[in-house]
């Protein structure tokens, strides 16, 4: 039982949970959040791949990739949330 | 010797955190819960920060731990205030309705 095994399987589980949420959730906000969970699960696997047994230094390239991924994910989330706000307002106007 | 002092301080801090969490789970309404959480966690955080600061190698690290303690304490107090304020306002509105 090493940390890479434990957290690698955690990442898989989080990815799976996010996938179920993204497919099954009704609420749009919840669906965006589920996709964010998927991205965290993928990041877990990359960080685990960079890990080395304690005396060794971790591989910096996957770390840089994950940092890039986190910033791209926040951009995508922001656009998705703006679309949700717009959609909700349009539906409210249609109703009224 | 120093390590034993630090370890006992951290252990005491952890006990306060556990007590605060038990209060959060067991108390009936939001104000009681906040009361348990803020008091116990504030003391627990201070004890843990003190224990870690004893173990810290350089004065710079001690300084950083002190800054972290200060800002976490201020932020948690402000958050609790905001939660309590929101709860009181929305609760009052509920009674009028």
């Amino acid at each position: 039982m090493t940390p890479d095994l434990i957290y690698g399987l955690t990442g898989m589980a989080v990815f799976g949970i996010g996938l179920v949420g993204a497919l099954c959730a009704q609420d749009r906000l919840r669906r965006v959040l589920a996709l964010k969970l998927c991205s965290v699960g993928a990041a877990f696997v990359l960080v685990v791949g960079a890990w080395r047994e304690p005396p060794g230094a971790p591989d910096p390239v996957p770390h840089a990739l994950v940092i890039t991924g986190i910033v791209v994910m926040v951009s995508a989330t922001a656009v998705a949330l703006a679309l949700i706000r717009r959609l909700q307002t349009l539906e409210a106007e249609d109703d009224a | 010797m120093l390590e034993i002092v630090a370890a006992s301080l951290i252990a005491a801090g952890t006990i306060f955190f556990v007590a605060g969490t038990v209060g959060l789970l067991r108390f009936p309404d939001i104000f009681c819960r906040l009361h348990a959480l803020t008091k116990a966690d504030g003391l627990g955080l201070a004890l843990i920060a003190l224990g870690v600061a004893i173990l810290a190698a350089t004065p710079g690290a001690v300084f950083r731990i002190a800054i972290i303690w200060f800002f976490v304490a201020v932020a948690s107090a402000t958050c609790s205030h905001l939660i309590a304020r929101y709860a009181r306002q929305s609760g009052a509105r509920g009674q009028h309705d």
Binding site: T10, V14, P62, V74, S75, T77, D95 | A75
Partner: protein, 321 residues
């Protein structure tokens, strides 16, 4: 089972999975967002255990802090719109149980396949660490992650800044003419808190940027912390975006991309490959790029939080342009 930290790892892993399930299954949407924020902080803790402090800082600041603020802002807007009309979130029909089960089964199969592939993969195979360690003296910085981000894989980072720029353009277009939910009143304690922490956040953000050359930290973490300044200013109403500030904001959005691209072009003009910095100036150039990118990230993230472009529009009405 000699290492007591394995128990900690197992507990943390269980906590992360439980929080992921809880945040998707809890009914109240506010609780969902709060659980997600706790989930993000727990994963940051797990990444510290995997000796990835840079990634943990980025996840805590951007992936959890800024994303959480964006989600809460959207929830506030949705509740405001719902309170004005009769729409509720339960308006749509529930998903049939069979569809739910089929989806869950397929997702379980996919996850199982991924897990089998993960367990079968050679552990700790040869990565890029030897190559990076060999090239580090030529990078101009002492911290490998910063070296990879701004020197060896600088194209990635340039495109990442472009993605942020594209996101803010898209948000301004989408939200054009959208009326805003009234900002909640936060009280005097909050105002005092903001006054106390604002100067400290500026110092901490700049410190994170500066320390990135030799220790965990850097432009993205520093930029996210500085974006918190923008969020606090917007939430305290100390700064209200106005139409005439749009020029400055646009300048700040493109500052990072512009500097980055300009440095690449100038380096390329000297007969080198783009991003092959001359060794004597590498640290200066990287710090220059990081500084400008930090400003861009901070302003862009704050603008993404504020959402709509500041245009003069009648309160509550729609601007038909």
């Amino acid at each position: 089972m000699t290492d007591p930290l394995v128990i900690f790892d197992l507990l943390l892993a269980l906590g992360i999975v439980a929080l992921a399930i809880a945040s998707l299954s809890v009914r109240d949407r506010f609780a969902m967002i709060v659980l997600f924020i706790v989930f993000g902080l727990f994963s940051a803790l797990a990444w510290v255990r995997l000796s990835a402090p840079d990634v943990a800082l980025a996840e805590a600041a951007i992936g959890t802090g800024v994303t959480g603020a964006l989600l809460l802002k959207t929830l506030h807007h949705l509740r405001f719109v719902e309170s004005r009309t009769a729409i509720t979130e339960a308006a749509c029909a529930p998903v049939p149980l069979g569809v739910l089960l089929a989806n869950a089964a397929f997702c379980g199969l996919i996850t199982l396949g991924l897990a089998v592939a993960f367990l079968g993969a050679p552990s700790a195979g040869p990565g890029f660490d030897a190559l990076v360690a060999e090239a580090m003296p030529a990078s101009g910085v002492d911290h490998p992650v910063t070296g990879v981000l701004l020197n060896f894989r600088a194209y990635d980072t340039l495109m990442e800044v472009v993605v942020l720029l594209a996101a803010v353009i898209a948000v301004w277009q989408i939200e054009r003419g959208l009326s805003d939910a009234p900002a909640p009143a936060m009280g005097e304690v909050w105002q005092g808190f903001a006054r106390l922490v604002l100067p400290a956040i500026v110092v901490i953000g700049t410190y994170l940027l500066w320390v990135g050359a030799e220790a965990p930290g850097g432009a993205f973490q520093g930029g996210a912390v500085l974006a918190a300044v923008g969020l606090l200013l917007l939430l305290t109403r100390a700064y209200v975006p106005r139409p005439e500030h749009r020029g400055i904001a646009r300048g700040a959005f493109v500052l990072g991309t512009g500097t980055f691209a300009l440095v690449a072009l100038m380096v390329a003009g000297g007969g080198r490959v783009a991003f092959e910095y001359p060794l004597d100036h590498a640290k200066t150039l990287i710090l220059l790029i990081e500084g400008m990118v930090t400003i861009s990230i901070a302003v862009t993230l704050a603008a993404l939080f504020h959402g709509r472009e500041p245009v003069a529009l009648p309160k509550g009405g729609r601007d038909d342009t």
